[in-house]
Amino acid sequence: MSDIIRRDPRAEWIARNRLHPLHAAMQPALHSWMGPNGVIRKNPHGVGFIGPNGIKRIDRSGAQQGGAVKRSATAQVQLPLHQVPAPAFYISVVPDMVGGRLSSHDRDLLGLAHQLAGADGAVLAVVFGEHKESAFATAGVDRLLVLEGEEFSGYAPEQRVQGLRAVDNQFNPRHWLLPDSRSGGGELGRRFAAALGERPATRVWQVKDQECIGRAGAGLQDLARPLARLILAAAECAEPVSETRHEALPVELSTSVVRSLSRIEDLGAVAVDPAAIPMAEAEFIFSGGNGVKDWALFHQTAAALGATEGASRVAVDDGFMARDRQVGASGTWVTARVYVAVGISGAIQHLQGIGACDKVVAINLDPGCDMIKRADLSVIGESAAILQALIAAVEAYRNDGRRDAA
């Protein structure tokens, strides 16, 4: 809906014309007025409006339409801004930034950081390398420190520890919070703890009254201890920030980070067989449904893209895919970061299964189907033609020596 208030001459004409059948519906709803004797009169019939099917509807939510047509654009709710002009102390958070964005685990951690920062402290997020996140402000970041440089790119845990040490020297945060995750935070936090000589609280799931509780051993026991300076927290350790907006002011290191001689050299990712990755864990799923007519082409495309294959129930029931490839309510709930749905209409049972997916791409003939509503990018067209073009494009991209990357 647009903000511009437009006149509707036809509606105005109907409102003036008492003989028009729609005249009553165009009158502003007048529920009560002062009678001639000073008594408030109410018109019980004036409540509500005539809906599109000619039935009277009463909307008690307060946003009545119909009679008095309110043309208001849905106002973007502006959350109150939380400012920390002169932080008394810092709470430092090092988010994982899987795929360049804050994960839900990172957001939980920022929520925990705010719990610890209270009103005087500032939450400082330390991010390595380039990122694609645009929502630092609403996630609860007061100060943002981006450590850029090719020495931090790729797998460089030792160099990152040097970066964190520099941050520690300059800002001297009261607490360091890292996600205790397999995707980087658990490792970086432990390396940093070993370098600082601090004993971290690990797998923390609750912080309360200067005490933190974390899982111990194989998960049969909890370890309760006084709040540590370095906390490696589990997912859902606190509620994410949702009611305030934050400044996310950029800050910088005043000193340059020491270059450590790397004893571990990153030789890059190794191609793994995508079919061997369990579907529930796969990062990139290429899924086919009833709209795929040429299954050989579908398999060829998945291989060209290096994606794990998935399927809708119809494709499985028709025997084109194995049962363990079914995505959805009665199949596997997937957590892929990128999900490509080819010829899948997006039945609710299927959409439930991809609820955790980050980016959804749809290829479909029908521009009105539910998958298109869910998708971040949809291409309307015949699946076979698009798959063929996709194979050609991937091959061109690979042959091009990655010159025209993105």
């Binding site: 658990g186 432990r190 194989a218 990139f284 991209y397």
Partner: protein
Amino acid sequence: MSTNVISLVSIGAHPTSGRPRRADQDARAVELGLQLAGDNLQVLHAGDVAEPALRAYLGMGLEQLHVLEQPPGADALPALTAYLRDAGAQVVLTGSQAETGEGSGMLPFLLAEGLGWPLVIGLAQVESINDGSALVLQALPRGQRRRLKVKLPFLATVDNAAPKPRQSAYGPARRGELAADDVEVVEDELLAVATLQPAKPRPKRLKVIKAKSGADRMKAATAKASGGGGQVLKGVTAQAGAEAILKLLIEEGVVR
């Protein structure tokens, strides 16, 4: 192969009964060590030599298991650091997290820091070892692998991506030798301030809907997951559509 490998093992606990057993990840460290060094593998434990669960490691085909004898509650780190410094190992393998006690997973990090060795997390496979460095595969989340070149000697942790441990056989477990060493005992000061308690089940996170009106709440409860505002390419050629898809896949880093 003349690689000198040491695997560090601890006592595990069965996930439901809590009974002592061989720790799963440590058994994987032994398995990987056996594949690397064969009979030359040394296995090391810091703790009680009389613990019967230690024999489960011997049952994997080891002749001997070295034990640095310590009472429960002692800090294993100084003893292990001192031992490893002079042991002349090229590769030291550990599990990534103990199944009993604190289980913070800090031990390999502190060992590496103390010894000044590089540390590889989540070792899945050692591809080759030659002149002073090793090519290894590191396990990443979601079944991915990364190839690393690391200088010898190094420490590595293994997790569930490492090869499955072989079964423990009864005969070798009986025959194997537990060799105890006496070491200096250092108390772990953490246990003075922290308390171990039975794990509390974590509450499930509630889906809180912050809606001002009943209609909004109804909408939130019944709405289908809709991204709302995705880009729709209609009436474009297949080539243009494919280019747009590929661009997104490259941006997300899933097509390399």
